[in-house]
Symmetry: C2
């Protein structure tokens, strides 16, 4: 497919990539204040602007493959990505999910340990690893931001470790729905039904399953059970309506 071509582009010849977007300015950036570059003021952020390229990737595209040399560091401007690892026999586990303002790529590792794939269409602000590294050396406050976010990621990953190791299928799916809800905060409240919440779920059943350490069938069954219990509704493809947030919270068996 296109993967290797795109990767080559990213490393060597960005000007040739069909996915390369026209040069943008940090002033207009949707994540200027929420991504790691918030550490730099408008004056110093130009050092990043000078080496960045905006790129677009279609849903399903694998941006980085497990075992690739990691030459890319990027900030997510738009869309959702999944990080996953696979076993020799093909079993797959999603180990991280990225959305706007999250960053992608380990600056220190020689090669990536994860595959990064687009769940939706994705726009990235890309930096060549070495040049980003150079800016990092000049600006400890940028490194501080990376550290802050790494600790947050670690914390969130450990929380999913708790879910993966200890929770039942029902609890896992309920936890996932709550996570999705926290992440989106889409609230469509009407007078008569103040707990009606509709959210967009970009993930396929298979992806949710791979995230939760379940099979696609078990995940689907839990969705069905929640629907017949009127805890959720599925108004249309890719939409989930939470009909009863409290029940969902109870089913998720939150940590204290």
């Amino acid at each position: 497919m296109f993967e290797s071509k795109v990767l080559a582009d990213l490393q060597g010849m960005p000007q040739l990539s069909p996915f390369l977007l026209p040069r943008a300015h940090c002033a207009d950036c949707p994540v200027r204040k929420s991504s790691v570059c918030c550490a730099l003021d408008d004056k110093h952020v130009t050092e990043l602007a000078d080496i960045m390229t905006h790129r677009h990737f279609a849903a399903g595209h694998a941006i980085v493959h497990q075992e690739d040399t990691s030459e890319l560091f990027a900030i997510v401007l738009e869309g959702t990505l999944k990080l996953s690892r696979v076993l020799e026999d093909g079993r797959q586990q999603i180990v991280g999910l990225l959305s706007a303002s999250d960053s992608l790529g380990n600056i220190f590792a020689r090669k990536s340990h994860d595959t990064a794939e687009c769940v939706t269409d994705v726009t990235l602000c890309c930096f060549p690893r070495k040049r980003f590294d150079a800016v990092l050396k000049r600006h400890p406050e940028l490194q501080h931001q990376l550290l802050l976010r790494a600790m947050e990621d670690l914390d969130e990953t450990r929380q999913w470790m708790l879910a993966l190791g200890q929770k039942s299928a029902e609890e896992k799916v309920a936890s996932f729905l709550l996570w999705l809800w926290d992440k989106q905060q889409y609230r469509v409240a009407t007078e008569q039904d103040r707990d009606a919440l509709i959210m967009t779920c970009p993930f396929k059943r298979r992806e949710i399953a791979e995230f939760l350490g379940l099979t696609l069938e078990t995940t689907s069954r839990q969705f069905s059970r929640f629907r017949t219990k009127h805890v959720i509704a599925l108004p249309s493809h890719g939409q989930i309506e939470i009909k009863n947030l409290d029940t969902l919270r109870r089913l998720a068996e939150q940590e204290r």
Copy 2:
């Protein structure tokens, strides 16, 4: 028990703690070159030496509780600790294991999200959070070390996420034994049996189970199966001998 007393000591009156060890020097430190403080040269490490205290904790002691305010940052000098999280009903998941040269405590979080308990007797090099923070601000290279290790932790945690979500009980236990082996590198090779490897396992069955997302019984059964298959032997309590490393590797179904 003693937990709250010790914690109070750490925060307010270190000189009164029965666990406080006599003042030590960084020059003699067993992890001077392998822990985060390797970032500082002998001259600057005194800034840390000035605010550090060495402390000893008995096996089983809980140093930090989930929900505690996080006033402690520490480096492990000796022994093994476990980080765990619990659900409301008591189900517990170990989310991290620390040994010599690892560090304990999130400098940025207002409160700890994990419980930290001693698996063995433990010696820590402790710092008050705020004062460590101040040193950190003056020395970006120290922050760099923290970032490096946070990324490594994240990577290792994701690897366990793959195991928790996708591996069978047999594969999990095999993976755990290999991890223990990698960590220790105890090798007792004789002429006739070059693959005989004896290692010390400080963990109880229950702890291994809580780490792998299994029950203690299932874990025990896997140990028994490995023993009857002559993959491992249990020469004495707390000792595990690997009789056949290759088989163990095959059983663990390594990621590629």
